[in-house]
């Protein structure tokens, strides 16, 4: 069994992952900000919760002791990440650097799984083919720049690493959509269901075949849509006219991705786009009674 640390473990992704790993018998440490809702993790044998600031080395040294796998999810995300470069750099880059240092100090053979983003490719709207993980990087905002810098630190850390460049994560619940969709109306996009991201992360643990690899993580062929197709499908279920959708006027980061290698290594693409829509339809039906 691996002793797993999940940073950012207080979020919905981290919480689901922690519970899955715990069920498999892995002892878990969670590290995230104070004041979050840890109610589904508290009092669960095998899960320890630590809260604090990823910028503080002393806290990190205590948190990383004895772990052999780190799943680093903690990050500032857009839109907050676009407000202040210094703050984004502090959390996403320096925070990652601190964590890597703390892990290296105590366990040089640890496996570091880094949650990166397809944002690192930047504007690829004119590309005709799905993007591979070898595609050139083109960060064009604070968030993508912070992820590129953090990836470099991870890959040069000397630890065993797995970098997952994750696409937009879709949650099949009746939740508010973005005020502005992060792509142009006619832009290629390929999101992924949250449960499949959790599976991809889960299947990294104890998996030597994914060491020192970089993967795109996206939903697969059934999720490869044009922006308006995706939004229209969601809005139809919610009873909202598709014309109400607001899209970016400049290209967002998204595209279609080559994921044969990541799927072969991590067998995570278990939710088709139709499965996702069916789950969302069920959530809406439950609300309607």
């Amino acid at each position: 069994m691996s002793y797993v640390l999940i940073t950012g473990g207080g979020g919905s992704l981290g919480t689901k992952l922690a519970l899955m790993l715990r069920e498999e018998g892995h002892p878990i440490k969670i590290f995230d900000l104070p004041g979050l809702d840890y109610s589904s993790l508290e009092d669960k044998p095998g899960i320890e919760i630590f809260t604090g600031n990823i910028a503080h080395m002393d806290t990190l040294r205590e948190v990383v002791s004895d772990v052999d796998t780190v799943i680093h999810l903690a990050a500032l995300l857009p839109p907050v990440a676009e407000e202040d470069w210094r703050r984004t750099e502090s959390v996403n880059v320096v925070g990652t650097e601190n964590l890597l240092k703390a892990v290296r100090e105590q366990k040089g053979e640890a496996h570091f799984v880094f949650s990166s983003s397809v944002a690192v490719y930047g504007d690829t709207i004119d590309e005709k083919e799905p993007l591979s993980a070898d595609h050139a990087l083109g960060p064009n905002d604070f968030y993508s720049k912070s992820k590129v810098l953090a990836e470099k630190l991870v890959m040069e850390s000397g630890l065993f690493y797995t970098v997952l460049r994750i696409s937009g994560i879709a949650i099949p619940a009746f939740l508010e959509p973005p005020a502005v969709w992060p792509f142009k109306r006619d832009q290629r996009m390929e999101f992924i269901s949250r449960d499949d991201v959790v599976t991809a992360l889960f299947n990294c643990v104890g998996n030597k075949a994914v060491r020192d690899k970089v993967f795109n993580i996206a939903g697969g062929a059934t999720w490869q849509r044009m922006g308006y197709e995706y939004v229209t499908a969601l809005f139809d279920l919610m009873g909202v006219p598709a014309e109400e959708a607001v899209y970016l006027e400049v290209p967002g980061w998204f595209h279609w991705y080559q994921t044969d290698d990541s799927q072969a290594a991590l067998t995570y693409q278990n939710t088709t786009f139709q499965d996702f829509l069916n789950r969302l339809a069920k959530a809406i039906q439950e609300l309607l009674g």
Binding site: A173, E176, M238, L288
Partner: protein
């Protein structure tokens, strides 16, 4: 306009009529209920721009409030006619139920979280 927003307009119209009727009542102290109603109306106004109000889920949620407000208007008329203790209790109960309906609608309309991260 969506059905949810149409219902919201009707609820606000009814709330306004109820508030005016309470202010014009003699022989009954409903100042707490009036204040609660006015606060509810303010919060309901704030729902106009919520995405929830454009969705199908807003229809049953607003229907509950609309029906509740119509019951209060009816109870108001009965109390005006007979000024009786029983009709006053019915009116107060109706106002309490309406306040609860509004609370449920406000909670549902939050749609906490986002469908994309």
């Amino acid at each position: 306009m969506s059905q949810g927003l149409d219902n919201l307009d009707a609820i606000l119209e009814n709330s306004h009529r109820i508030a005016q009727a309470i202010e014009g009542l003699e022989g009954a102290s409903l100042s707490d209920e009036l204040q609660a109603l006015q606060e509810s109306a303010e919060q309901l106004e704030g729902l106009r721009d919520k995405f929830f109000m454009k969705t199908v889920a807003a229809v049953p949620a607003t229907k509950g409030c609309l029906t509740g407000s119509e019951k209060v208007l009816k109870a108001m008329e009965t109390f005006k006619d007979d000024q009786g203790e029983e009709s006053l209790m019915t009116l107060k109960r109706g106002l309490k139920d309406l306040s609860e309906n509004v609370g449920e609608l406000l909670e549902k309309a939050q749609m906490a979280g986002t469908t994309l991260t």
